[in-house]
Symmetry: D3
Subunit: 132 residues, 6 copies
Amino acid sequence: MFAVEVRDHVMIAHSFKGDLFGPAQALHGATFVIDAAFQAEKLDGNGVVIDIGRAHEALKRVLEPLNYKNLDDVPEFAGVNTTTEFLTKHIHDHLAHAAREDRLGRPGHELKAIRVTISESHVARAWYEAGI
Amino acid sequence: MFAVEVRDHVMIAHSFKGDLFGPAQALHGATFVIDAAFQAEKLDGNGVVIDIGRAHEALKRVLEPLNYKNLDDVPEFAGVNTTTEFLTKHIHDHLAHAAREDRLGRPGHELKAIRVTISESHVARAWYEAGI
Amino acid sequence: MFAVEVRDHVMIAHSFKGDLFGPAQALHGATFVIDAAFQAEKLDGNGVVIDIGRAHEALKRVLEPLNYKNLDDVPEFAGVNTTTEFLTKHIHDHLAHAAREDRLGRPGHELKAIRVTISESHVARAWYEAGI
Amino acid sequence: MFAVEVRDHVMIAHSFKGDLFGPAQALHGATFVIDAAFQAEKLDGNGVVIDIGRAHEALKRVLEPLNYKNLDDVPEFAGVNTTTEFLTKHIHDHLAHAAREDRLGRPGHELKAIRVTISESHVARAWYEAGI
Amino acid sequence: MFAVEVRDHVMIAHSFKGDLFGPAQALHGATFVIDAAFQAEKLDGNGVVIDIGRAHEALKRVLEPLNYKNLDDVPEFAGVNTTTEFLTKHIHDHLAHAAREDRLGRPGHELKAIRVTISESHVARAWYEAGI
Amino acid sequence: MFAVEVRDHVMIAHSFKGDLFGPAQALHGATFVIDAAFQAEKLDGNGVVIDIGRAHEALKRVLEPLNYKNLDDVPEFAGVNTTTEFLTKHIHDHLAHAAREDRLGRPGHELKAIRVTISESHVARAWYEAGI
């Protein structure tokens, strides 16, 4: 299996609901450094999984509505805890959708899976990996 | 599959038995930077794999008996080479045990696997991944 | 000149006032990974600048009132932009104060300067360095 | 599954053919930081996947013909785009060949898979993973 | 002294003249990851050294003529070895020029110095620091 | 001022004397990742501070007597605490000596200073900088 992975980041505010979160129940924030890995069994005729520039653009487009936002105010996230784990799947699903719609410069069915990793600090990160 | 991964470290002394190890047969030491990744098919009701704070504590508890030790003197490790690989499984097994005993803040059967990665320098690391 | 540097982090929310900041005028947030470097011309009798454990504790104490906070609501910061640069000096000043009060395990006058570096992402950071 | 991973690097020139590559169609270059991860179900009698020193040497041997080269001039690569993805498989295949010939200090059939990751910058990397 | 530092990268080909360089006399290449640190004694009215977005843009503008190039073919560099050290000063001088022309969003005379660091691999880097 | 910096590492055992060190009074160990930065006002005729290959070799030669050792048994270190800070100066002094003896491929008097940084973990490091 081949993979190509690109990195970008967002800076957001949010708060969590639930005793589990202790002090993180208060409004705070995070820099999320996001790695998106696109996977394929075979390279295309150009010798790539997908073009790295294209991968960067696709990730940036998915991140744009999140960047510099208070996620507590984003209607799409009403009633959910926007945990690091939750956001890995949110980003994955949008990238997978773009892949299925052939917007990554390669037919979506030639891509197999996407893994999204979010580093929230130098000591904690989360990831989600699933098919397209 | 979701994963949440936390990082901690220990500073230990040890020596290896076997010609294979060359100069590492002498008493030397290492800083082991350890990443423990807890994996689950689904997030829990709070939207997490397990709480990151809880994950940090669980890892710290497993590492405590190793930190600032000469592993050659730890009875549990008598007669074994405490290689980086060996220690990845040692830490995995203790974390998996804690998971099975429901000590990670989530029923153990809801967790699927744990991967433990140990970086021993900027140019070498090892990992072990197995079910719970 | 000798230095010993320790790392910790905080996760905060804040917003900026001023057209310069563009989208960062909205409430957003950041993970700030902070490195505090304590500098001295000579090592003490134990062979250290200051004890690394002590340095970690001193930094943690200064960061505690910031962690998991919306900095816009912290009275001490009323009317100022809590930029990365501003916070490097804020943390420096508190650490320098602790040093002058001999709370770092070594007479403050034996320490020369402190540099505080804050990484706000994988592509941007700021630092402030000044005497004690 | 156990893995041991070692890191090295090469500095090469090359160019790509195909509109997809935009400005990268011109002769340019890259530092490729390469991680090779050797995987095995069980540790050997010494408690390792393979010796880390041996792993470093095996990787260095495979990289030597690439280092400080213009890959456009390497006969073996005539007519192909030496993309990051392509090179992950090239390195994998040579390491797998060394494994099968029992040149890694352990019978090749005891190793299961090799993953080769190439970081081409702080924001992009690729990997290839396959059996031996 | 305050500093704000931003990161970007270029991928270039080049060769060196001189026995000192051994195999690097051949045409090869590099990914240069570049950190540019802008330094000032005081923050401006917004609480910044210079705006981070502005800093990123200024660095990108200086790097653009280098990216995806064979530096051996760049007329400006005819007859010089485009070593990592040489390029740190090249980038510094262009950024300092932009500062003096007040193109960084703050009067140039309020900035004191610029340090440019280029990482050419995970084990080697160079920097140049000088006034504006 | 120009600098060129190279990285290497050693894996050592040692113990500390003094209540200050708490659990680190016991025999333990560390991976020390060492960066040595050679500084000069001007580049030489080749366009370098010193050759990077030469810098790597010089650092390796200084580290060799430390690697895979129990520093408590090294006669040269009898009666001293081989703290991270202490070792930064030890390495500096040996590199400065090599520079003064013109063993770095450039007349020693053309080099100005050396800074040695030792990272002992992902959260702690020390450095020493002094003239040659």
